[in-house]
């Protein structure tokens, strides 16, 4: 049986206790909401996209340590990155989370600290928590592309 330390790695708790990029952005930044209907977690992802670059990102909402730290780490990882690279990272992250419909990812997008979330896979119930921010971000990017 996997232990708590597999799930709650130090860097995850650090992001939970001191979340990065908390807050909101004013329009024309894009605001996207995500919900985990099973547990009531709610997240809002604000992104500013300029010249195909995610120039700024803010996160608000509430949830468990896994959903909050995943969102915080995501925001730190993608800020200032080109949209194509961000999409590749979303793909890679979801692959790491064993989301079934994700094909073999492009491994050129570095995971960095996000690898700490790999332990979540051993706790299948929590995978939804970890990917909530990422799915919400993907939706925001789709809106930005319209």
């Amino acid at each position: 049986m996997p232990g708590l330390e597999d799930l709650y790695r130090e860097i995850i708790l650090d992001h939970y206790k001191s979340p990065r990029n908390r807050g909101t952005l004013e329009p024309p930044a894009i605001r996207t909401e995500g919900h985990n209907p099973l547990c009531g977690d709610e997240i809002e992802v604000y992104i500013a996209v300029d010249n195909d670059i995610v120039s700024d990102i803010k996160i608000s909402g509430q949830g468990c340590s896994i959903s909050q730290s995943s969102a915080s780490m995501m925001s730190a990882a993608i800020k200032g990155k080109p949209v194509a690279e961000v999409r590749a990272l979303i793909h890679r992250f979801k692959h790491m989370m064993s989301i079934e419909d994700v094909e073999e990812p492009d491994t050129s997008a570095p995971l960095g600290d996000l690898e700490a979330l790999q332990g979540v896979v051993k706790f299948p119930v929590r995978i939804k928590c970890a990917v909530l921010a990422w799915n919400t971000l993907a939706e925001g990017l789709d809106t930005a592309a319209q």
Binding site: L13, L38, G40, G63, S65, C129
Partner: protein, 410 residues
């Protein structure tokens, strides 16, 4: 102890199991209860040696299975003190029972300009079916608010019930543990000409039920929360109301005759039991009712009141202001279901740490989002106790919470 707890625990095979070498501390019975060996044996013997479809054939096995299925109905009827066995309709679960009332009674009796009354502490199963029907029929839904300690606030109940056609409420909150004064609420409803529909899921497994004493009109409850199997629920209704209602689902078993031009309904209870019924589940439910009767529902309630006192005292003593237990602290008006907030640790994280000690609690919104919004919580952790739980298990919960606190010290 008012009941022989060791003896009872020995009847539940899963309670003797270990996971990763540690015993199971199951505190999620408000969600679904475990099953005694007698229920497991009854279903297994029935499937192995007695199985047959019911109501349709003359052979010995069919007659015997029909007798067992109807015997379950009779036992359930006695368990809630119904006047007639045919007032008990078997459904898939209590959710279906409430949908049946909304779709059959509600569709025939509610229209534009009408109003029904629900409470702020309802489970989604007693909200959404009415909202679905209201969207079609155009009636309004009024809400009974709550007091600060999680009881129904009846200060404006006469205004709320004025002109209402139905008052549908839970007998016990699945989040707060609040036990509502059912008899008084039924009487209030009737005084205003409204029928009284009781969602009994949380109370029927834990205390005596007497629908005649209540003078209620409908009662919905489920088997899997009262030691029986999943897949079968119950709707009790007054004969006159059930007789006057249109059927719910159409199909085999529920008809008296079918022609190319239409159909006529079967008598109660078959009128509301379309298609092949949960026969095996009814046999298991029957054994569950026997088990509860042998212990006595007054004794179950007494045991859970003792556990509640111990839990409230111990949690408060050990954690002081670090824990917020929702609902009343008076065990006379609450059952042994405790939703709580612990420091600022998210309920999911609480339940994850507790799981390391096999302490099973539910974390989430408990299918009562309007109530959660009222509490200002997106989610809570919930520990719920039943006749097989012990005060030692309250201590196990506290020990695991202590570790949770240490782990998530900010």
């Amino acid at each position: 102890m008012t009941i022989d707890i060791d003896h009872i625990r020995a009847d539940f095979p899963i309670l003797a199991d270990t996971i990763n070498g540690k015993p199971l501390v199951y505190l999620d019975s408000a969600n679904s209860s475990h099953k005694p060996q007698s229920v497991i044996d009854a279903m297994s013997t029935f499937m192995a040696h007695q199985y047959s479809p019911t109501n349709r054939s003359a052979y010995f096995l069919a007659a015997q299975a029909t007798e067992m299925y109807e015997g379950a109905r009779t036992k359930v009827a006695k368990f809630i003190n119904a006047r007639h066995a045919h007032e008990v309709v078997f459904t898939k679960n209590a959710t279906e029972s409430l949908n049946l009332v909304a779709r059959a009674w509600g569709a025939a009796n509610l229209s534009t300009g009408d109003a029904i009354v629900l409470t702020h502490m309802e489970h989604h199963a007693n909200i959404v079916p009415w909202q679905m029907l209201a969207a079609e029929k155009g009636f309004t839904i009024r809400w009974v608010p709550l007091t600060a300690d999680g009881l129904l606030d009846l200060s404006h109940i006469d205004q709320l019930l004025d002109g209402a056609k139905a008052f549908s409420f839970t007998s016990m909150s699945n989040v707060l543990g609040t036990i509502n004064p059912v008899k008084e609420l039924v009487s209030l409803a009737h005084r205003h000409g409204a029928i009284a529909i009781v969602d009994g899921c949380q109370s029927v497994p834990h205390m005596p039920t007497d629908v005649q004493d209540w003078d209620a009109d409908f009662l919905a409850f489920s088997s899997h929360k009262m030691l029986g199997p999943t897949g079968i629920g119950m709707l009790w209704g007054k004969e006159s109301l059930l007789d006057a209602m249109p059927p719910f689902l159409g199909g085999g078993n529920m008809i008296a005759d079918v022609t190319l031009n239409g159909f006529t309904c079967a008598e109660l209870p078959a009128k509301f039991e379309a298609g092949t019924q949960p026969i095996v589940e009814a046999v298991g439910l029957s054994a569950a009712v026997d088990y509860l009767n042998a212990i006595g529902m007054h004794n179950v309630r007494q045991h859970e009141m003792e556990i509640s006192r111990y839990a409230l005292d111990t949690l408060t003593q050990r954690f002081g202001e670090d824990i917020v237990i929702h609902g009343s602290k008076n065990v006379e008006v609450r059952g042994a279901t405790f939703s709580f907030a612990f420091r600022d640790v998210h309920p999911h994280d609480i339940s994850q740490v507790l799981d390391q000690h096999n302490v099973c609690v539910r974390a989430g919104h408990h299918c009562a989002k309007p109530l959660m919004r009222l509490l200002g919580a997106h989610a809570t952790a919930r520990a719920s106790f039943y006749l097989y739980n012990t005060t030692d298990e309250v201590d196990a919960l506290c020990d695991a919470l202590t570790e949770t606190g240490e782990f998530f010290t900010l």
